[in-house]
Symmetry: C3
């Protein structure tokens, strides 16, 4: 169920960069959480030119949003946020100010994959 | 406000399959929750080929995410998850392992439709 | 990090309408929350014709979803919901029943932008 969605303006990412980012994000998630890679999905979505705005002006932000199982520690979440920001900048050369990464919790029981409801993660939940 | 978004790689779903899934998802939601169909929205979004990855490799997952009013029971949520998974597999022939369905809560007061803030659902909230 | 995503069927919005809506949504958010405009992102996404359904039938809803830092008051959220609904209807002439606006909280610590985790908002959290 971990699902990472990366939104950029059309033409921002090459096929090779998407492949590289998908591998890196999957690797970051599995290393930080212990989850098997087979459940990690990464989607790339392109916005039309002139369809993204920052401060009310046409811009080219990269918006990466992960949806993960609730119950991971803040340290795990922050490690994921940091590592994805760093790898995105390294792969694309983007400026930090144009890179937004969010990692959002959803309870394990809110999702079904492979025909099964997800189990709760093994580490105890911490206060967000 | 119930909003269901179905993401698949371009070419996965025919017009007829989209129509069939939209009708089924709407029917599942109204039957399980009692909400009127006029508030149920279903959106289909296509990813470019080579833009979806599972386990770091190009793949063709189907990602269906619902956003519903908080306060439904776990039994209702699980019935929705199961029924949508089943109907998606029946309509498309997809393998269960490539079908991810999530149903996410948002408080009724976080949304406006038809110019009105949504009322809370009638059944009492249960612990997720 | 405040991120507003507007989904409409292809051809619904002109370039000028997108620009106008982006400016208005940015202005509404900054006025209601005091957040600096430089962090406000607005994305417009187009669905293919025949890819949006309401009540199981092909339709042309406008779905606008904001993701803001948790901790804003209900009054602030409702002012944002109302103002975005109103401006969308004014700019496009859309019927209120086809305009869905949601403003969803995420804790500040769940996002990173400009290489930094976001601070908590200054006003005290209120019960949603």
């Amino acid at each position: 169920m971990p699902l990472y969605e990366c939104q950029t303006v059309k033409g921002t990412l090459s096929e090779r960069q998407r492949q590289s980012l998908a591998e890196s994000i999957t690797s970051i998630h599995t290393q930080e959480t212990g989850a098997p890679a087979s459940y990690v999905h990464v989607l790339f979505k392109e916005l039309e030119a002139g369809s993204a705005f920052t401060a009310g002006q046409v811009a080219t932000p990269a918006i990466i949003r992960g949806q993960i199982r609730a119950g991971r520690s803040q340290a795990t979440r922050h490690a994921i946020l940091r590592a994805i920001t760093d790898v995105y900048m390294a792969v694309t050369g983007a400026d930090a100010n144009a890179v937004v990464v969010a990692v959002v919790d959803i309870p394990a029981s809110w999702a079904m994959e492979g025909g099964h409801i997800f189990p709760e993660p093994e580490q105890p939940p911490e206060v967000a």
